[in-house]
């Protein structure tokens, strides 16, 4: 009887423990202690990990952890991993591709980063130039571009690709849906957009009321097209494996 109760208890613990694992948002622990060097990367970007591994595991004069990270991330920029890294992907509303990148040295706590950088293909190399040659942490936009070129990186270059332009063209033909706008008109179409100053949480009816009051009759005719105010799934962002940060 006692062993039966113990067996039952064991089964319950196994079953409940499994649920906890699944319910805990996928926490998953792996061993792997004490086997340096080690390279870890988001996603199955095997070539990037191999590129970093080659640098950090080289016999004799192995590269530093920083050099290995730059090599691995640069490999993904060249390979355009998943279309979410490097030039030629993720066009903005104007069809342009811009790059964000960061490098951090866990020994010195130094960081170099670039954001919304235009016309330069080497994102993480530019970030490392910020870390190595300035006291700053983050440079952005066209000023980051000028800095990178002044430090010897190739550019300016067009970061679009036939695929990114085609993606952008189809999106525009689909009334620029989905998009990242809210509380603007026209919500269901391409811009230019105009703000609706409505306190958050108001209903669509009050939005119409605001528009009539502020825009007058001109907006009357627009309400026939219900998508004038109705964005496609306003809260359903299209974040997925091939569209994310």
């Amino acid at each position: 009887r006692r062993s039966y109760a113990r067996l039952l208890l064991g089964l319950l613990l196994l079953r409940f423990g499994g649920c906890l694992e699944a319910a805990d948002h996928g926490g998953r622990a792996e061993e792997g202690g004490g086997v340096f060097p080690v390279v870890v990367s988001t996603w199955p970007f095997r070539e990037a990990v191999r590129a970093a591994w080659e640098v950090v595991s080289a016999s004799g004069a192995a590269g530093s952890a920083v050099d290995a990270v730059v090599a691995g991330c640069s490999a993904c920029e060249v390979l355009r991993c998943d279309g979410t890294v490097g030039p030629g992907g993720s066009p903005d509303e104007n069809g342009e591709t811009t790059l964000d990148a960061l490098i951090m040295d866990g020994t010195t706590m130094e960081i170099g980063a670039v954001a919304a950088m235009r016309y330069i293909k080497d994102g993480i190399k530019a970030a490392k130039l910020v870390m190595d040659h300035t006291e700053h942490t983050l440079l952005v936009g066209e000023k980051a571009t000028s800095f990178a070129i002044s430090m010897g990186l190739a550019g300016p270059a067009d970061l679009s690709s036939p695929e990114s332009i085609e993606k952008w063209t189809i999106w525009r033909q689909n009334h620029c849906q989905p998009n990242f706008w809210k509380n603007v008109v026209p919500a269901g179409n391409c811009g230019p957009y105009h703000p609706i100053d409505v306190p958050s949480g108001e209903s669509k009816a009050s939005v119409k009321h605001v528009l009539k009051r502020t825009q007058g009759e001109i907006c009357q005719g627009l309400f026939e097209h219900d998508n004038f105010l109705e964005p496609v799934n306003p809260h359903l962002k299209s974040i997925n494996r091939h569209n994310h940060d």
Partner: protein, 136 residues
């Protein structure tokens, strides 16, 4: 987005990120990849973290800084990763994102919300890269 961490033979830690960001973003929009402590963070004394997902939401919570500080307080990588994800999911139940955590002993883990996540790993006990899948 790639977010990568390397611990070399001397135990020095580095992280890096690179991305072209969200598709059809409003021009000028920056994701969380270049934001210190959001998509990546490292400290030789503790370990490293990498993250990916909806950068507009994630950068508000600095998940990787959180992971490092949790591990600094003694939390295991798995619990530190889940804690960081849960802090965001509690405020934004629909958010999509993931983190990996690795401590200075090389113990690693992943956690995710809203999608299935994978991270890649190579250490000196492996012959090639291994891919680990983490379900939400």
């Amino acid at each position: 987005t790639i977010s990568m961490a390397v611990i070399d033979k001397m135990g020095h830690v580095s992280v890096g990120t690179s991305t072209n960001g969200a598709t059809f973003k409003v021009p000028g929009r920056v994701g969380d990849a270049p934001i210190p402590g959001s998509s990546a963070y490292a400290d030789d004394e503790v370990g490293a973290c990498g993250a990916t997902g909806d950068g507009d939401i994630m950068m508000r919570f600095l998940p990787c800084y959180q992971v490092i500080e949790s591990m600094r307080q003694g939390m295991e990588p798995r619990n530190a990763a889940m804690d960081a994800i849960l802090r965001i999911a509690r405020k934004y139940p629909d958010f999509v994102g993931a983190v990996f955590a690795i401590n200075k002993k090389g113990v690693h883990a992943g956690a995710c919300h809203g999608w299935t996540f994978q991270y890649s790993l190579r250490n000196s006990s492996m012959q090639d890269v291994e891919v680990i899948t983490v379900a939400p």
